[in-house]
């Protein structure tokens, strides 16, 4: 190393070590920090409160609920409400609990997610890489469809499904979810495929690969993350759906959300708040599970679906 201080005039050295040195001392507890963390903690408590109340209530017996405080933890933990919510709660029609709704929701969600993603990803791919005449016009209509209130399209959909004999069936509901999930998913996939290097697609075409071959061999393997994002978006979206479930299916096919609402808001009998909360929690578990395991991808999904939409 070159001696860098040689040019420093004599006497300069004396100034070293005088005055401030090293990192500026910062107090951990500053007004700003108290404000920031204080606010965030209070806000977090507000967001956590309903979850806390749900869990606590679902673990209490009815007598304790009547005398106690909804925020207090149970004095005596009981899992009775959970059992009843799952297998014994009444909806007004039957008394076999949420389990029926849960399995209905599974039967609705799995094919709906698969079909909607399959179709939308091919759409997105066609729009991104095979721009054909008129494609943009259809796409614009599709995106507008994302904003049109469903209410406008509900009844025509009923008629169409009835015409082909699918009204009230599981298949009918799968079609409905595919149709109404299409705008946002297509957008998601189109944007993703557009962001992939176009050279890749061109190289494949020069090599003589066709539409499907490029899709399955080149695009699919590169797009795992976006498929996961789409899956998260769709599973939570379809699981949480209420409107379509109640309109396009019959009572024995009602998804979990509809079943839940019928259990909690049915007028007959004594209100069992602990069972209601256990049922509510059960319904929320699937999306919550997805939310907590997917972490950043969930955020990416809603950001992609929202900002660019």
């Amino acid at each position: 190393m070159v001696d860098l201080t040689s040019s420093v005039a004599a006497g300069q050295g004396a100034r070293e070590l005088q005055g401030p040195r090293g990192p500026k001392p910062r107090k951990v507890v500053t007004r700003a920090n108290v404000l920031i963390y204080g606010t965030l903690i209070v806000v977090s408590l507000y967001y956590l409160l309903p979850m806390w109340v749900m869990v606590m209530t679902s673990l209490k017996g009815m007598p304790e609920i009547r005398v106690g405080n909804i925020f207090a933890p149970p004095m005596e933990i009981t899992f009775e409400p959970w059992v009843k919510a799952w297998s014994g709660a009444c909806t007004g029609l039957n008394c076999d609990g949420l389990s029926r709704g849960f399995w209905n929701s599974v039967r609705i969600t799995l094919p709906s997610v698969a079909v909607s993603i399959a179709i939308a990803s091919v759409n997105g791919y066609a729009l991104a890489n095979w721009r054909f005449k008129g494609a943009d016009a259809f796409f614009t209509i599709l995106i507008f469809g994302a904003f049109i209130p469903y209410q406008v399209m509900l009844y025509p959909m009923v008629i169409m499904l009835r015409e082909v004999g699918l009204y009230g069936s599981l298949t009918g509901l799968v079609i409905v979810h595919t149709v109404f999930g299409m705008p946002i998913l297509t957008l998601l996939f189109r944007n993703y495929f557009t962001s992939l290097p176009e050279e890749l697609f061109k190289a494949a075409r020069v090599d003589g690969a066709g539409f499907w071959r490029i899709y399955f061999r080149i695009m699919l393997p590169m797009s795992l993350p976006i498929f996961v994002v789409a899956m998260i978006l769709q599973v939570t979206g379809i699981w949480n759906d209420f409107l379509f479930g109640v309109i396009y299916t019959k009572p024995d096919l009602y998804p979990m959300t509809v079943q839940l609402n019928n259990i909690v808001n049915s007028v007959q009998g004594v209100k069992e708040y602990n069972v209601n909360m256990a049922a509510t929690l059960l319904t929320g578990l699937v999306p919550l599970f997805i939310y907590f395991i997917s972490g950043k991808l969930f955020v990416r999904g809603i950001a992609a679906g929202a900002v660019k939409g």
Binding site: L4, P20, P23
Partner: protein, 362 residues
């Protein structure tokens, strides 16, 4: 002379990663210092420490004789120009120039005077009412310089200010910055990874690597007498040619390697005096003579041309000596072709010797 900026024993680490290590640096008043290095060498980090945008881990920073180690950036008497210009997009050029001053509560008349002066110096008067989006890249960077100018400070900091511009504009603006420095006489620290910018602008260049300053010298000195092998290879394009061999001080000093024995008489050894042993010999492409000129050189050899790259102003050629490939620089009008044989040679005083182990100049 009182240094404008002194940096004493500066350390900076992010977690376990040391970015700057016990760094000392003095910058004279009115000096143009360039921090040069490849990305990740700590040059921008050092600049941000001087600006106060990063908290140092240890050490002190003095600006104009004042210890500013704990000072806020705005209180340090510096102006800064950023790579992305960092103009406030929703404000006019005038708004950009005046925002800081207004915030500091400066009287209107003085603000107007300073803006007028800065605009005149930078020739941006017609742009004052426009928004940044309506400006070209070069104009934006001029406004960014203006924002530093109106602060009326002693020290200007430039963080790769020309990297986002195209080559032509970069050359133009580079000249303007140099002119600006000559007009204003401020101390300037300029970070870049572009050696041409460094060579053309600097009074002194600090070449950085791994958080250390490898050499701090005038551009000429750095070019002619690089302090170590890294600096020697970093400065100059194409890079210096290196031979690995041994310095033999037995009789007349000689460097021997597989390409032959090179006479070292006339080589200026460093302060420590001649030193034998394993070493690298480096010679710049433009210091290798060829044809008739080579005949006069004490070191001579035959070379076969492998590749020719005409650049217009000059011609680069890749030639083979034994197993070694060397770059040489020829005249732009040269008509050599691949396959030709050339006599090449050089004078020992043009060569550079570096110790094999320490890679420092001998």
């Amino acid at each position: 002379m009182e240094p404008s900026i002194s940096i004493r024993h500066l350390d900076l680490s992010f977690g376990a990663v040391d970015v700057l290590k016990d760094l000392n640096l003095d910058i004279g008043k009115g000096e143009f210092l360039v921090l040069l290095g490849s990305s990740g060498c700590g040059k921008s980090t050092l600049l941000n420490c001087v600006a106060g945008l990063l908290d140092v881990s240890d050490g002190q920073i003095f600006i104009s004789g004042r210890n500013v180690t704990w000072e806020e950036p705005s209180k340090r008497g510096i102006g800064m120009v950023f790579q992305s210009y960092a103009l406030y997009p929703q404000m006019t050029v005038e708004g950009n120039l005046t925002f800081g001053l207004k915030n500091a509560g400066m009287p209107r008349a003085e603000i107007a005077e300073r803006v007028e002066r800065a605009a005149r110096i930078l020739q941006i008067e017609p742009l004052l009412k426009r928004k940044p989006a309506a400006l070209s890249g070069g104009q934006r960077q001029r406004v960014a310089i203006g924002r530093a100018l109106v602060r009326d400070v002693d020290v200007f900091l430039f963080d790769e200010p020309l990297s986002n511009l195209d080559a032509k504009l970069r050359t133009d603006l580079r000249a303007e910055i140099k002119e600006l420095h000559q007009t204003l006489g401020n101390t300037m620290i300029y970070v870049t990874h572009d050696q041409i910018e460094a060579m053309t602008l600097a009074d002194r260049i600090a070449i950085m690597r791994g958080g250390l300053i490898l050499q701090l010298d005038s551009p000429k000195e750095i070019y002619n007498r690089p302090a170590n092998k890294y600096v020697a290879g970093f400065i100059g394009s194409p890079s210096m040619n290196f031979f690995e061999g041994v310095v033999d001080l037995g009789g007349a000093p000689v460097f021997s390697c597989e390409a032959g024995d090179f006479d070292l008489s006339g080589y200026e050894f460093g302060a420590a005096g001649p030193q034998g042993g394993p070493a690298w010999l480096g010679i710049r492409p433009e210091h290798i003579a060829h044809g008739p000129d080579a005949a006069a050189c004490p070191v001579r050899m035959e070379a076969t041309v492998r590749l020719v790259e005409p650049l217009g102003s000059d011609t680069l050629a890749r030639v083979q000596v034994g197993e070694r490939l060397l770059w040489i620089r020829l005249d732009g009008q040269s008509s050599i072709r691949p396959g030709d044989t050339l006599t090449i040679g050089w004078h020992a005083e043009r060569a550079n010797l570096f110790d094999s182990a320490t890679e420092n100049r001998i």
